[in-house]
Subunit: 251 residues, 2 copies
Amino acid sequence: MPEPDAPLSAEGLEAALREVGATRYHNLHPFHKLLHSGQLDRDQVRAWALNRYCYQSAIPRKDAALMARCDDRELRREWLHRITDHDGTGGDSGGIERWLVLTDGLGLDRDYVVSKEGALPATKFAVEAYVRFVAEHSLLEAVASSLTELFAPGIHAERISGMLAHYDFINETVVAYFRRRLDQAPKDADFALDYVKRHARTAEQQRAVIRALTFKTEVLWAQLDALYFAYVAPGWPAPGAWRPGVAVGGA
Amino acid sequence: MPEPDAPLSAEGLEAALREVGATRYHNLHPFHKLLHSGQLDRDQVRAWALNRYCYQSAIPRKDAALMARCDDRELRREWLHRITDHDGTGGDSGGIERWLVLTDGLGLDRDYVVSKEGALPATKFAVEAYVRFVAEHSLLEAVASSLTELFAPGIHAERISGMLAHYDFINETVVAYFRRRLDQAPKDADFALDYVKRHARTAEQQRAVIRALTFKTEVLWAQLDALYFAYVAPGWPAPGAWRPGVAVGGA
């Protein structure tokens, strides 16, 4: 790919970032299509929820890693609510708890889910790659890697309507996580997009933020690849990973 | 799994470690069986060599990460040759160069291989998880994670004979990497096994080394899962990854 010599305009950069989403976001993945169109069985939805827990539960560590290297008090003040959105604060039990309500509703043992013992190694590798990316790259790239939130409302809306319509084991209680994210994600995405447009001034910085967002789409895509491979076709969970029919969870 | 209250004998620990290999080492993976039995086409072997380069080329970083936190001069002196085995020293060009002779022989552009641009994200996530494991866990666990070398001579011998017998694009020059590892791996494995047997005295330490070796088998297994998924069935390389027929490599 030829690299531009001159920086893009802020609008040009936004268009380039949206193009990454249009071509690489995991709403394009066959596993997502199967999930929201009701073509998975209950065990396959369980596998998804069990594995995706690893990602959800890592988000506060990821955001703390970003804040740990951010010397800008205003940015830290803005960023903080991402941690409490997931960990909860005061009367709000938080997004991770809402995810566990989903796994409860699917009949998975909560201790087993939280232990991550049954999650696919590929899931854990992808999730930890994301935490490490944020800890090790520039603050600008760390912020940019959150920009998949730009594309999240569409996927959440598709999941809510699709899963409620197609699965008798999914109800309003268990989709509470996604309902909440419909409000939260756009505000976060707007802030991060504005930040990136203001701070990525040079062509080099702009390439770095596009690479950061591309990396993040790879993290999400790899998780659905692993689920498809293990639980759809050929259906080979790695040794030690949760297996449909063997146990709903627990020792 | 019930956890033992009393530590195993050194022989009992060795047996437990060998059991991890017997049940989880990637010689059991269907992709390995396809590779050494001649059932892959040239593009599938290319995909394997291109991706496996990520692993090979990370080994010296992994070993440097171990040495970076090792205060035992004798252990550092012993460990050092693992870096030079791969990076080369003096007249020996090293294992990474021998791996590039393999990818050259397969018609892959060397710069493209070295850039890792076409490698699967899942490969890179797994490889970097290994480097990070060694950097972040105890020295004992870091040494234990190298113990997959115990099982390597079998897989290397199988690859050499199988690939030479079945693929007309494989010859003695390009299997030089594996021939050399037949000598190197057993010495390394014997040293690491002896170290682990002497230093893992408590039941807790023994569980940690068994977990470390299990983790390492997951790193290797996940790489073959990703190759199978992307290049055998269903044959879906992640967006941006190398695609058979599109290009042999290069921009």
